[in-house]
Amino acid sequence: MLLRKLTEACGAPGQEGEVRALIRSEIEGYVDEIRTDALGNLIAVKNPSAPGPKVMLAAHMDEVALMILGIEKNGLLRFRPIGGIDPRVLVAKTVLVGEKKVPGVIGSKPIHLQRPEERQRPLSIDELAIDIGAKSQEEAEKVVNLGDCAYFATKFEEFGQDKIKAKALDDRVGCALLIELLKQNYDIPVYGVFTVQEEVGLRGAGVAAYQIQPDVAIVLEGTTASDVPGSDPHKHATSVGKGPAITIMDRTVITHPPLVRRLIELAEEHNIPYQIRRTNTGGTDAGQIQLTAGGTKAAVIAVPCRYIHSAASVMSKKDYEAAFRLTSVYLQDLQEREGN
């Protein structure tokens, strides 16, 4: 399954090579051009010279990870998150380090030797280290380099009622949608952009949009769902299983109102479940794309994911299918209204 391959591949911001190679192999033959740019964005084009509005679809390839900053004499690896990770989710997890995917664990002190009050405060990032079982610095240096990144060692699995559990659903779910969308046929120019470095400041999307200068851009994302016990319903942001989320605004973008209205109309018209993203926090590539050149119309269609930026996030296959249909229907609509 496409999403299995994508989520089990590893790609920290700036180290998206494995994901890029995988995506390239998936879309070859389905697009007219494939190229990369100076930052490593993978740009796939269908119908580059066709008339009609130029549409950019974007999904980011990178995921949050841990960068190795130090190797201690005892062979333990010290790290910092690259992208936003709550250190509380790191404790007692398994990780894979670097391109060689060296197995490691993030340990903590045994409960027996803790004072009860210790268990009330979170472990700080300085108290955590990756243990790969190396007995010394020299032994660790044989398999790990400074600057390597460590990734959650989570296996993709389907479970429950139409649910999927995996790491990096943010934003491999967007990558999977974009790959599948590129396998369909269109009459208008479609630019599928797999961006780099979203998690460290939306860096790839801006330069990609500058090269393309699209008339309209849709960002495909995995977004936070807080529909869990302890979280008030008005703080749920999105709910798993209730359809793709359409963003009105977040920290980086106010999405183009007529574009959002059209997406909602189309969802209603085609009986596609959808929800409005009910928070203005977070940011996406749409933030950079809308500011490109003289400004670009941008919207975000996102699959709700619980426990995002942790070892195991959870999404619904139904939301994925609905996100695919909504984007697909929008592209058809754009073609019919504005194509030749």
Binding site: N74, L76, D86, R88, V89, V91, A92, K93, T94, P103, G104, V105, I106, G107, S108, K109, P110, I111, H112, L113, Q114, R119, Q120, R121, P122, L123, E127, D131, I132, G133, A134, K135, E139, V143, T154, E157, F159, G160, Q161, D162, K163, K165, T224, S226, D227, V228, P229, G230, S231, D232, K235, T281, G282, R306, Y307, I308, S310, A311, A312, V314
Partner: protein, 353 residues
């Protein structure tokens, strides 16, 4: 049978205190080195290996004990949105649970993820604290209590879903190494005894319910009444956050116990055996008499001379306990040579202080 592989298999399998049957079955199926198997009322797996003595001769009776139960979770409530609330069986640090994958043992087994309210909907005060056990829940991917009905019920168990895996060299990480590593050391000992000349009757017991109060060791020792008891458990390995004096070194061989729970003559003999056979070891003094099966064995009936061997283990009671498998092998080897050296005169002398 490769004992290391068996160890990985039993560590990856589920056997929370009181529910160890599957583990006992797995061990029994894979262990060709003993003469008899039996289970007692609580579920202890008792394996008897007879020495090479005449049948009418009185021989020393040795009991080895390593517990096969693991800490786990128990479902306490099904929320109307289908999430499961839980409590712990045995000692878990609440901070290691967030984001773990679990298996819920309901009508069938169900995969789950331990979740909590995400950071951005937590108050600044909540963000500065550890997520409390009562605020955690298991997400098994069903959308309502109705969907969960008939699948998972209050009282069902959950275990951490963590397959053991190999790190660099002979290091390994996984769950339930406490104390299935002890079980593996016991099997290494039984296997090593096949190549040694010994007269003792060896009762190797995979005990139950250690994590909730040494309960299996209490009943199994009562049924055996050995001349010598050896408990094999895990000890705190060298790791960040602990001082050196609190720990024993991974790769340094078994740690030989010292303290009120250890018979002084057994300690002395164990050290001699290690030296004689050039088995690396460390010393593990402890002022606390409780905490392991050694205590339960020691106070059985009229009292049993007992010793504790500890296998160094990092990150105890977490899903990624880490050890050096060489230490497991060395622990088995040390016990085998110790057993081979036992005779009636020595065990009778244990009562003379």
């Amino acid at each position: 049978m490769d004992i290391k592989q068996l160890f990985q298999d039993i560590a990856s399998n589920s056997g929370v205190s009181g529910y160890e049957d599957q583990i006992a079955d797995q061990i029994q199926e894979a262990c060709p080195w003993v003469d008899e198997f039996r289970r007692d009322t609580l579920g202890n797996l008792i394996m008897l290996k007879k020495g090479k003595a005449q049948s009418d001769q009185k021989v020393p009776r040795v009991m080895l004990a390593a517990h096969m139960d693991e800490i786990g979770l128990i479902i306490t409530k099904v929320e109307k949105e289908g999430f499961l609330r839980f409590s712990t069986i045995g000692g878990f640090d609440q901070r290691v649970l967030l984001g773990q994958e679990v298996t819920v043992h309901g009508k069938e087994t169900y995969r789950g993820v331990i979740g909590a309210k995400p950071p951005h909907v937590q108050s600044p005060d909540e963000q500065r604290q550890a997520v409390k056990l009562e605020d955690l829940f298991i997400d098994i991917g069903f959308d309502s209590a109705e969907e969960v009905e008939g699948k998972v019920a209050v009282g069902d168990l959950a275990t951490i879903n963590q397959t053991s895996w190999n790190l660099q060299g002979s290091f390994m990480a996984g769950k339930a190494f406490d104390d299935r590593a002890g079980v593996a050391a016991m099997l290494e000992c039984l296997k090593a005894l096949d190549d040694l000349n010994f007269s003792a009757e060896v009762y190797a017991v995979a005990t139950v319910q250690e994590e909730v109060g040494l309960r299996g060791a209490i009943t199994s020792t009562y049924g055996i009444v050995p001349d010598v008891g050896i408990a094999i458990d895990v000890g705190f390995g060298d790791q960040p956050g602990l001082q050196e004096f609190q720990t024993i070194k991974l790769g340094g061989g078994p740690a030989i116990g010292l303290g009120p729970h250890v018979h002084p003559t057994l300690h002395k003999r164990m050290v001699e055996v290690a030296k004689e056979w050039k088995i690396p070891y460390s010393l593990d003094p402890s002022p606390y008499p409780g905490g392991t099966d050694a205590y339960a064995i020691q106070v059985t009936q009229a009292g049993i001379p007992t010793i504790l061997l500890s296998i160094p283990l990092r990150y105890m009671h977490t899903p990624i306990e880490t050890l050096d498998y060489n230490d497991v092998k060395l622990t088995g080897r040390l016990m085998a040579f110790f057993i081979a050296g036992l005779d009636n005169e020595f065990v009778e002398g244990l009562k003379c202080f």
